[in-house]
Symmetry: C2
């Protein structure tokens, strides 16, 4: 019965059974479902696993078996940039399909030609010219796989195209980016004496330059790339919203991306996935997780400033548990958006509303609905049985950290590990580092599969094996029942490219 | 001429020349001035230096000489709790009086008696009963010294009184604080089986206890003390606002407080003062500074959500410099409340407004007015020549960090250093630690003056000496022209108490 359900969902999602023209614009029904009835819009992209896995329809079907949870890895004859290793597994039944997605691409940043300007997001034309850009993305979907799939197909292209807009600045990495550009965004003649840009076409510019350059921040090229990545995430989120008018794009997703450009690795995280660098068996954390607990004060502040977003059902104040009507007038522990500690307050009628942030650890939720506070999609996600939207409380902007790859020496066992929360919920950073280091040190450095085998090893440590009492780790603790996706990326990997 | 101006300001502030009943309620004129004309309200507290310095009027006058900047230290026959060392010096002329203030107190937390309930803030009655509480406060005033003086007199009493309200919980430090208290705040009978509080007077409580205690956060006593400190800062700020109806309380102040209670040191910081622990010559930073740069995103977010607070004069978007009208339509670097990196945007009319956050480093300002973003007071601070209030952008809530004194071994050279920004602007944490360690290691451990001499040594390193070209450090760099206040507090100090 499980199989027939899967088949049914898959054929709908894979098929594109709906005629493309049959659109309902301004469709407002919930995006939580994965099926696509006769009244719905067609999916933006069909369901599938990452292209680089190159699955046959039979293997795609096989990958969804919740009972056996087969581990998918990169095939022996496939090759990802930098010899990247990859492994994934579906959840133990919490959703029909694997809602994780991944992408790994080598792209080229190019100066936009005049005709390309308004037709971005093209596939790389593969002529190998331009500035190379390596991209790894891990997307953890929820309430459907639509947003995760779409982001895995397009986010890296958006980033590439936005980098193209500053191509002339990337070409001159030693000079600081000009603060102001001409209307067409074209490069300037730079007045090197002041280190700042001036347009020759503008006669005013010279006259008032003393005023203009009086107090001026120097912005580094690195923070310009960070800005590109941040705004590309926002653009991706806007694109999902826009295309939801014409397509079904279900759910939302956490997005974790690693971008290697000109010697630096930019790690951008929006959600609760995690990336760590393991160097010399030392852990360098590259992400923070964004959850109702870690972002409590930001969310409470919004609820405080915009109480209408709480729909008269929620209170921005946090309490350690629900309050009962009979407790009115008593004193209860609370904390508001300004506090880290707790204090007592006298309970009033308004405090009986449900707290905006409620629950602990993995069970913490925003408005009793969602357990992550950053990501893409979720535009029509509402509190159950209400008209209260969650989206205003979610941020689509990642936190970006930079690691200077070229300034550090890396051995073949130094890696970047990226994984969805399924990996990290049961395995600590330290355990992951020890496992990777132990595995790689036993593994022939020239084996093209070594990073994929390390990824598979990590994945198995978090999934465990199926016993009578469910998925269990060697120490008898519960394994992760979540979808799990792992990249193991060798930091000396670009040296292996030719 | 300088001297006569000082005398005039001092006699006004010290004197209380106005008859106390002569109040203008709802007085709204700017609190920036320090003088007190015939139309003004009397000062809440007269100007002075910390009581523990025990200055004669002549010495008080002498302390204000900007030309010589005499260093004031604790007298040889004075003794502060824990043998605390202290030194201060006035600024080089940026304000008439020293706008820094400090306090150092040993207080006792007591169960509030029924008559005390509504008459808090009393001086300690000194009978030595109750739970001992040590307090060190450093207040860096701006635009007048009124807020700093008032806070230095009252904040520790507010904290003591709020701790009194949870006295029965402090008495039982091993049991977690109950989540809910009776109306009168009195202790409960605790149902130990569930570890949660129940009132015997409430028959419902037992019936639905399974529901009540279904999901319940455990709150530690430590986070309750943190909450006491956070809410006491808010209460202090509210008190300043309220008493401004009856008194002149000029300006605002950064507040940095260290509270030692039951084996733990709570460091609470609202502003740009700084505290570090030096242990074994290692630096443990105990504060973050709150400035327009460090709190940029919080401030921009408020400006974005509540644009009316920007008074149509400011934009919440940050630009690296002012934009000129002739640049409309061009592209300029910017970042908004969601971004850490920079991106280009096309300049529109709205972008010509002045940026909410502008300038770099020590010159960064909120609405071109103030260089710190947390503190007490400033209720009537406005943007120059406008009706735009700054206060909504300022937070009075400190960040609180906890250091477990009793769980660590401390030698006589392990100290907590607290200083206003005058100290830290020219001396790094590392330099302070090296200087303190070097000084103390050469100094007789039994000398009661050793921590005061170390504080004086630190202060001299930041003030420098007066040369032809101003106050200079040994390396010829400029010394700090700001008010400087330094506490050096031995962490083994409570062992010296009897």
């Amino acid at each position: 019965m499980m199989i027939s359900k899967v088949k049914n969902a898959m054929s709908t999602l894979v098929g594109g059974m709906m005629p493309h023209g049959h659109h309902h614009h301004h469709n407002h029904h919930s995006g939580g479902g994965q099926t696509c009835g006769p009244d719905s819009l067609p999916p933006r992209f069909p369901y599938g696993r990452p292209d680089f896995l190159d699955l046959t329809p039979e293997l795609l079907q096989y990958s969804t078996e919740h009972a056996s949870r087969p581990v998918l890895t990169l095939k022996r004859d496939s090759r990802l940039p930098w010899r990247t290793g990859y492994a994934e597994v579906i959840n133990a039944g919490k959703s029909m399909l694997n809602e994780d997605q991944a992408s790994c691409e080598k792209l080229f940043v190019k100066k936009p030609s005049s005709k390309q300007r308004n037709s971005s997001l093209l596939e790389d034309n593969g002529d190998g010219t331009g500035i190379p850009l390596h991209f790894w993305g891990v997307y953890d979907g929820h309430a459907g796989s639509g947003a995760a799939i779409m982001a895995s197909k397009l986010l890296h292209r958006l980033i590439r195209d936005r980098l193209g807009e500053i191509f002339h600045l990337l070409e001159n990495p030693t000079s600081a980016p000009p603060i102001c550009l001409a209307k067409n965004g074209s490069p300037y003649q730079v007045d090197t004496k002041k280190g700042a840009a001036q347009e020759t076409e503008d006669p005013d510019a010279v006259n008032d330059s003393s005023l203009r350059f009086h107090m001026e921040k120097v912005v580094s090229l690195e923070s310009l790339v960070m800005g590109v990545i941040e705004t590309a995430f926002t653009q991706m989120d806007d694109l999902i919203e826009k295309e939801k008018l014409s397509y079904t794009i279900s759910g939302g997703c956490c997005a974790l991306a690693a971008i290697y450009l000109m010697g630096k690795l930019y790690i951008a995280n929006a959600g609760d996935s995690r990336a760590i660098i393991i160097r010399n068996n030392e852990v360098i954390p590259m992400t923070n997780e964004f959850t109702p607990e870690s972002e409590r004060q930001r969310l409470q502040y919004l609820g405080f400033l915009r109480p209408e977003l709480l729909g008269n059902e929620f209170t921005h104040i946090e309490f350690p548990r629900r309050i009962q009507h009979s407790e009115l007038g008593k004193k209860m522990l609370y904390r508001d958006h300004t506090m880290t500690g707790w204090a007592y307050k006298t309970i009033v009628e308004d405090d009986l509303k449900f707290p905006l942030i409620y629950g602990e650890g993995k069970k913490a939720r925003v408005m009793a609905t969602i357990g992550v506070t950053r990501g893409l999609g979720d535009h029509d996600l509402k509190v159950y049985n209400s008209n209260i939207y969650i989206k205003p409380f979610l941020s689509c902007v990642p936190e970006v950290k930079v690691y200077n790859v070229d300034e550090n020496k890396h051995g073949p066992d130094d890696v970047l590990v990226m994984g969805t929360d399924g990996l990290w919920d049961v395995t600590t950073d330290r355990e992951v580092a020890d496992a990777v280091s132990a595995y790689l040190s036993c593994c022939d450095p020239s084996d093209p599969m070594r990073y994929t085998l390390a990824a598979q090893d990590l994945l198995m440590r978090s999934r465990g094996v199926l016993k009578e009492r469910g998925w269990r780790l060697p120490n008898e603790r519960l394994g992760s029942g979540d979808d799990i996706t792992v990249f193991v990326i060798p930091l000396a990997g670009q040296e292996s490219e030719t």
